[in-house]
């Protein structure tokens, strides 16, 4: 599952176009947790970042040397490479609320300051 999914869509209103989100999901083979994490991530991105994100899935079983670079301990781990600063979210991303807090993406309902 060394698939990289790049999705670009038209820019949503109120957001700057240059702000591309680079996300990296670390997994270790296709375990139920990994699969759940991927689908959860996909869903959240589609909802909140449609067109402005890029997800890279890294299978550590296949590329173990990559774990060192991002200091990965837990599986699955989602790393927000961009925008800075780097954020890490561990777990299967089932708690959407916490994923949004972790990614610094407030839910659409809350007011957002520039």
């Amino acid at each position: 599952m060394t698939a990289s999914t790049v999705t670009r869509q038209r820019k949503p209103s109120g957001r700057r176009p240059e702000k591309l989100w680079q996300l990296r999901l670390y997994v270790a083979s296709q375990t139920p947790k990994s699969l759940a994490a991927f689908s959860n991530l996909k869903r959240i991105c589609e909802t909140h970042l449609s067109g402005r994100y890029r997800i890279e899935v890294i299978d550590l079983m296949a590329q173990p040397h990559l774990s060192k670079g991002d200091q990965i301990l837990a599986i699955p781990t989602l790393v927000r490479k961009l925008p800075q600063p780097v954020r890490k979210i561990i777990g299967d991303l089932s708690d959407t609320e916490r994923v949004l807090i972790g990614l610094d993406l407030r839910p659409d309902s809350s007011p957002r300051k520039g």
């Binding site: 670390y26 270790a28 947790k33 759940a36 994490a37 550590l60 079983m61 173990p64 040397h65 774990s67 060192k68 200091q71 990965i72 301990l73 837990a74 599986i75 699955p76 781990t77 600063p85 780097v86 954020r87 890490k88 979210i89 561990i90 777990g91 299967d92 991303l93 089932s94 708690d95 916490r98 994923v99 807090i101 972790g102």
Partner: protein
């Protein structure tokens, strides 16, 4: 080394727990060969007690001495920091890393960067460790300090389950692992890691007694193997950790029957004429000012002059002070120092802990390779530790010296009168010879005496000798022992003078009597002579009388014959007769 090989030979038929030698000085002796091979070992202790160093040395020695590559997974320090830290111990980590003997992996966890949502595991850590192990074929693994995970990861339940899995995984991987952990209040580690690591637990401790810090190591648990359970002091020196086991050395020193002079001829005479045994340990005790250092310096000078290498540890005086003071009693130590036969090492006892002293002494001894070592005084080190510790230290020092066939002399200060201190009694059992210096006070002066309390393996004198220090050196003289007890100093001299006077008097008396007798004899002889002359006169008189009588008789007989002839009487045949008969006849 010897004890290990002995143990091995005894237990040969039973399959034993395979051990993984650490290469750390002393630790392999305590554990009977090292850490359990292929199993995790927990090393716990407070801050700054040497956990990381222990782990690093285990890895570095494994890579350099035992050909076992290792992985260092650090949760606290970065690779660069670690490399720098161990460089001071003489291990070139960078080179080891280049040669693929050691892999450093710094695991960085920052709680604030981590958000937790839902289920996860630590598979990535396993993957990472596995990758590191496989990349160099590592046999040893260090995890320093796993407890950082507890602060980095919020879900303790998951963490504990994963740790259990990790240790199981390490075992199946077959690597010998050292896991360090901070010690906790009521359990060995703060987060109860000992629950998971059940094969071997080593506790490090750094405690301060009377402002002197000493490090201790204790093997709390070692499943399936005998191990020393004592607390062993250990040191962190220039070449890493060295554990100093008190009991690991067996009593199997080689012994020598060679002798070494004590430097004082009369003292040699007291020791069956030839001095101390080579390689023996000698205790010299005495109250202040009894001349312990002088005796020690005499010994040092004599030994150095006869070609021995002498190492003098001074804990009271500086080398220059000793040299100056000894010059006043006629000892010339300076040339010996210059010739490199005598070496001083002076240090304040309170400079560092006992263990550090011991380590320094070991190092000096190894560097100088002496055949004679003098410690002056050993009691000063008491202030650097408790009696018990000092004894332990002396034991180890003696063992070390005896192992190297080094003759050692320890002076020991006693306080007051005749009471022997507890520590000396404890120490004396370790010693082969014990000389006692004492003060005798009386007649307004103090005098020194010396006696040999014990000397193993030789017939030694039981006599008290007076000990004289003059500008020509140290000498022993017979103390006067008479009806008034032992006399020393002025009273000995007075006694000697008295005896001399008495002897003179009796000599004179004898001469007088001799003269008298001579006179008497002469008188007697005179009398004998006069008697003899009187006797001679008598004898002459007697002879004369005899002759007279003879003549008279003859004349008489002639007259009678003539008369008879004239009267024409019968002829009387006169047979020749003895004079007496003639006399008798004449009387008739």
């Amino acid at each position: 080394m010897t004890s290990r090989s002995v143990r091995k030979s005894i237990a040969a038929p039973v399959p034993r727990l395979p051990k993984c030698p650490t290469g750390i000085q002393g630790l392999d002796e305590i554990t009977g060969g090292g850490l359990p091979r292929g199993r995790p070992t927990l090393v716990c202790g407070g801050a700054g007690c040497g956990k990381t160093l222990f782990a690093t040395e285990f890895l570095a020695r494994g890579a350099t001495q035992f050909g076992e590559p290792g992985v260092f997974m650090s949760f606290e320090e970065t690779d660069a920091e670690l490399k720098l830290n161990v460089a001071s111990l003489g291990f070139d980590m960078a080179a080891l890393v280049r040669r693929k003997k050691i892999v450093f992996d710094h695991v960085y966890i920052e709680r604030s960067e981590i958000q937790e949502t839902g289920e996860y595991d630590l598979e990535a850590l396993f993957v990472r460790l596995n990758y590191a192990i496989d990349s160099i074929g590592a046999k040893r693994v260090v995890l320093d300090t796993l407890e950082a995970l507890f602060t980095g990861l919020p879900n303790e339940a998951i963490l504990r389950a994963e740790l259990r899995r990790l240790f199981r995984w390490l075992k199946t991987k077959g690597v010998t692992a050292v896991i360090t952990a901070e010690s906790g209040r009521e359990q060995f580690t703060r987060h109860g890691l000992e629950e998971y690591v059940s094969d071997c637990v080593i506790l490090l401790d750094h405690r301060v007694n009377d402002q002197i810090a000493t490090r201790h190591l204790r093997v709390v648990k070692y499943r399936g193997a005998l191990h020393g359970t004592n607390e062993f002091p250990f040191l962190i020196g220039d070449d890493g950790i060295s554990v100093l086991p008190i009991t690991s050395l067996g009593l199997n020193h080689k012994v020598s029957s060679g002798r070494i002079s004590a430097g004082i001829p009369r003292l040699d005479a007291m020791l069956s004429g030839r001095g101390f045994f080579r390689g023996s340990s000698i205790l010299l005790t005495g109250t202040p000012g009894t001349g312990k250092t002088s005796v020690a310096a005499c010994f040092a000078q004599a030994a150095a002059q006869s070609g021995d290498r002498v190492l003098f540890f001074s804990f009271e005086e500086s080398p220059n002070q000793i040299i100056r003071n000894m010059r006043s009693i006629g000892l010339r130590l300076e040339p010996l120092v210059q010739r490199g036969l005598l070496r001083f090492h002076a240090a304040r006892p309170t400079l560092c802990g006992l263990e550090m002293h011991l380590a320094t002494m070991f190092k000096e001894i190894v560097a100088f390779q002496p055949t004679v070592v003098i410690v002056d005084p050993i009691t000063s080190l008491l202030s650097a530790g408790s009696d018990h510790e000092t004894k332990g230290m002396v034991t180890r020092l003696i063992d070390f010296l005896k192992g190297g066939q080094v003759t050692s002399l320890f002076t020991s200060l006693t306080h007051g009168g005749y009471a022997l201190q507890q520590s000396e009694i404890a120490m004396s059992s370790l010693m082969d010879a014990w000389l006692l210096l004492q003060d005798f006070e009386g007649n307004g002066e103090r005098n020194r005496v010396l006696y040999v309390l014990k000397s193993r393996g030789m017939a030694h004198s039981n006599q008290v000798r007076e000990f004289l220090i003059s500008d020509r050196g140290v000498d022993l003289v017979d103390a006067y022992i008479g009806p008034h007890g032992v006399l020393t100093g002025a009273s000995r001299v007075a006694q000697a003078a008295r005896e001399k006077a008495e002897a003179l008097t009796s000599q004179q008396e004898a001469a007088r009597r001799k003269r008298e007798l001579k006179y008497k004899r002469a008188t007697l002889e005179q009398r004998i002579a006069s008697l003899r002359s009187a006797h001679e006169i008598d004898a002459a008189e007697l002879e004369r009388m005899d002759a007279q009588v003879g003549t008279q008789t003859r004349v008489l007989t002639a007259e009678r014959t003539e008369l008879a002839r004239l009267r024409q009487a019968d002829v009387v045949r006169v047979a020749p007769r003895p004079a007496a008969k003639l006399k008798a006849g004449s009387r008739r």
